[in-house]
């Protein structure tokens, strides 16, 4: 994919070294590529709105965790553009296969955040929302395993002759797992309509990307027989364009694409993690210079697609939204005891029913 000129390389997060990521907006918000990505002004404004709502919700979730309303919570500050840009590019029938960090993408796919947060409240597991209705797969913690599910779903679409695609989200660390590889190889050999979307945020808990792999992740694609692209994951327009292009390829029957979105995990791995043990603050501060929201807001205003009032309105909406979600989360009660047994089997055996009786007696 065409590479644009490097910006002040000194400041870039270490893991961005190597090939230049495709970029449309420079970190300072000036356009360095073609901004005509096929989005109307209102769609462009929506990109900002979702990023603002997502970040505010992320902050609220961290607060809720500190207040004991949520269990361990994995924040995504700094990754808003990667998630919002890619999710915005999806068609209505495309299916998302997330990790545990894709709350921003979930919002764009109109997954009810209160339902989603049942997961972190500890009131339900993987799929508290309806994965079929939302076309947003269950939150997936076993690293890289959902990429294989995405391949299977894509195969199902191919067999049914629909034009729906799968998009699998995963991190830099996930690329070390065998499941990443098996999914990618199947995607290649079966020309599956899917996008392998890697958010390379520089860290896998305490392990930096440089200790995770020696290659550039996007380069893995060639070995599987499909294209790989490296994109500036904090440039929402570049992420949208790359994902859109990949989805178009998928719909044309040209198979899979691997996208490596270069971003940065501003927060700790989760609220249970003390990042101070393994990385220095200056690194985080430097990364803030690449903030995806500020970058896009600057351009949006300069391009005249939105005005300060719109930005202010987004922020007001975000406050109200965060409050609404907070109330919904706090109102979410523990499930009834029967739920331990209600869906273990679709056709529960008699032996199982006897144990249910013993348990609920």
């Amino acid at each position: 994919m065409a590479a644009s000129a490097p910006d002040h390389p000194a400041e870039r997060p270490a893991h961005w070294a190597g090939s230049e990521p495709a970029r449309i907006l420079a970190p300072d918000g000036t356009a360095v590529g073609d901004t005509a990505v096929g989005l109307e002004p209102e769609d462009l404004r929506a990109l900002l709105r979702w990023m603002v709502l997502a970040r505010r919700l992320d902050q609220e979730c961290i607060a809720l965790q500190r207040q004991g309303q949520l269990t361990v919570y994995p924040g995504f500050e700094g990754q808003e553009a990667a998630q919002v840009g890619s999710a915005t590019a999806l068609g209505a029938t495309d299916f998302v296969w997330p990790t545990f960090r894709e709350l921003a993408a979930a919002l764009v796919r109109s997954v009810d955040p209160v339902q989603y947060l049942q997961y972190h409240r500890g009131t339900w597991h993987g799929g508290p929302y309806d994965p079929r209705a939302t076309r947003f797969g269950p939150i997936c913690i076993p690293i890289a395993t959902q990429i294989v599910h995405a391949a299977g779903y894509a195969l199902g679409q191919q067999l049914d002759g629909t034009d729906a695609a799968s998009i699998a989200y995963f991190g830099d660390g996930a690329t070390s797992e065998g499941d990443f590889h098996e999914a990618a190889n199947l995607a290649g050999v079966w020309r599956l309509p899917m996008v392998l979307f890697c958010q390379n945020n520089g860290w896998a808990i305490s392990v930096p990307t440089a200790k995770q792999t020696a290659g550039e992740i996007w380069r893995r694609a060639e070995g599987y027989g499909f294209p790989g692209v490296r994109v500036d994951g904090n440039d929402v327009l570049a992420v949208y364009a790359a994902t859109r292009e990949a989805l178009d390829r998928a719909r044309r029957g040209e198979g899979a694409t691997l996208i490596e979105a270069m971003t940065y995990r501003i927060g700790a791995h989760s609220t249970a993690d003390d990042a101070g043990r393994y990385r220095a603050d200056p690194e985080v501060e430097a990364a803030r210079a690449f903030d995806p929201i500020a970058r896009f807001r600057t351009w949006l205003l300069a391009a005249g697609h939105a005005d300060e009032e719109y930005v202010a309105a987004c922020e007001r909406e975000a406050e109200a939204f965060a409050l609404e979600v907070r109330e919904g989360v706090i109102a979410t009660a523990a499930p009834p005891a029967e739920w331990q047994f209600d869906w273990v089997y679709a056709a529960p055996p008699a032996t199982f029913e006897r144990m249910r009786g013993e348990a609920l007696a």
């Binding site: 339900w124 294989v148 499941d179 050999v189």
Partner: protein, 323 residues
């Protein structure tokens, strides 16, 4: 009346399931063009096309994970993992996803997946080709596990497994693939029901898979010694047929459970524990376990010393009767 081999009956079950439900897919390593190393999928690709019956790369986690994704798209995957030990690379997908997805999605997404695994020993095969993996699957809540012991019941169990809305692991005893049985293929008893193959009042021999045939031989040998042994084929290891086990314990008072797998934390332990829970007062003797040793499956030339022999079964039955 027709004569069936287990391999042929399973092939027919797949054929009939593919015909009955056009959402059924069959895939795995070498199941397509070549028809499977044990011929169980022979001719299916020709009959149903390579869209519904296809070969995969050597990628067990990929095969099972693909099946999970296919279920989200409304398909009904029937996959083959080529041999017992080669199902282990897929255990994470089976335990973390296949077994749990229906619960974690509150029933919104079912996993009607059938995983066929040629299993167990007795064919003087190479290492990793004679393992008994049933404990790993039977202990995993959310799965159902069946083990056919004969051709006709193989057809019945596989049809039920494919039609079942839950994930079913079908452990096919390699050593029985070519064993013949006369009769007509039928719907038959469902998942969860064991069966009595020979009646007897002195002791019950409980087993599954290849060991059922040995249990019957042992019953014949015991009969000559004046011991009337009942032979039970469990058919299904998860769930177990509690009623049947209880009845046998109450009626014969003595139980011998036989399996190829190592004894330690094997299915035989579960049978013993349940029998004790269900019919302690009826037990005239401790449940005897005749099993493979707590050691890796041996090379071909030591196989006979590892597998439960008719002699070991007979001796165990006599011990319980003499107890």
């Amino acid at each position: 009346m027709t004569t069936w081999t287990l391999s042929g009956a399973l092939n027919r079950a797949l054929h009939d399931s593919l015909t009955a439900d056009d959402r059924v897919l069959v895939f795995g390593e070498d199941v397509g063009v070549s028809g499977g190393v044990f011929r169980v999928t022979d001719g299916l690709q020709t009959a149903f096309g390579d869209r519904r019956v296809f070969d995969t790369p050597i990628s067990e986690a990929g095969i099972v994970g693909t099946a999970v994704g296919l279920c989200f798209a409304g398909w009904r995957p029937v996959v083959e993992l080529q041999f017992d030990a080669f199902s282990y690379p897929a255990l994470e997908q089976v335990i973390d996803h296949v077994a749990k997805m229906h619960m974690r999605t509150r029933g919104r997404v079912g996993m009607p997946i059938t995983i066929r695994i040629p299993s167990f020993g007795g064919i003087k095969g190479k290492e990793h080709h004679g393992e008994s993996p049933e404990t790993y699957y039977a202990h995993t809540a959310g799965l159902k596990v069946v083990v056919p012991s004969s051709a006709l019941d193989g057809y019945t169990l596989l049809r039920h497994a494919i039609a079942d809305p839950d994930p079913v692991i079908v452990l096919e005893p390699k050593a029985r693939y070519w064993a013949k049985e006369d009769g007509e293929l039928a719907d038959g008893a469902g998942i969860g029901a064991g069966r009595i193959l020979r009646d007897g009042t002195d002791v019950t021999l409980v087993s599954y898979g290849s060991m059922v045939a040995r249990a019957r031989e042992a019953a014949d040998a015991l009969a000559e010694k004046g011991v009337e042994a009942r032979v039970v084929d469990l058919r299904c290891l998860s769930p177990l047929d509690d009623e049947l086990l209880q009845r046998c314990a109450e009626e014969t008072g003595r139980i011998v459970v036989i399996h190829e797998a190592p004894r330690h934390v094997g299915v035989g332990a579960e049978v013993a524990a349940r029998v004790m829970e269900l019919a302690f007062d009826s037990l005239a003797a401790p449940v005897q376990r005749v099993t493979g040793w707590d050691a890796p499956y041996p090379p071909a030339s030591l196989e006979d010393g590892y597998l439960p022999s008719v002699e070991r079964i007979v001796a165990a039955a006599q011990r319980t009767v003499a107890y």
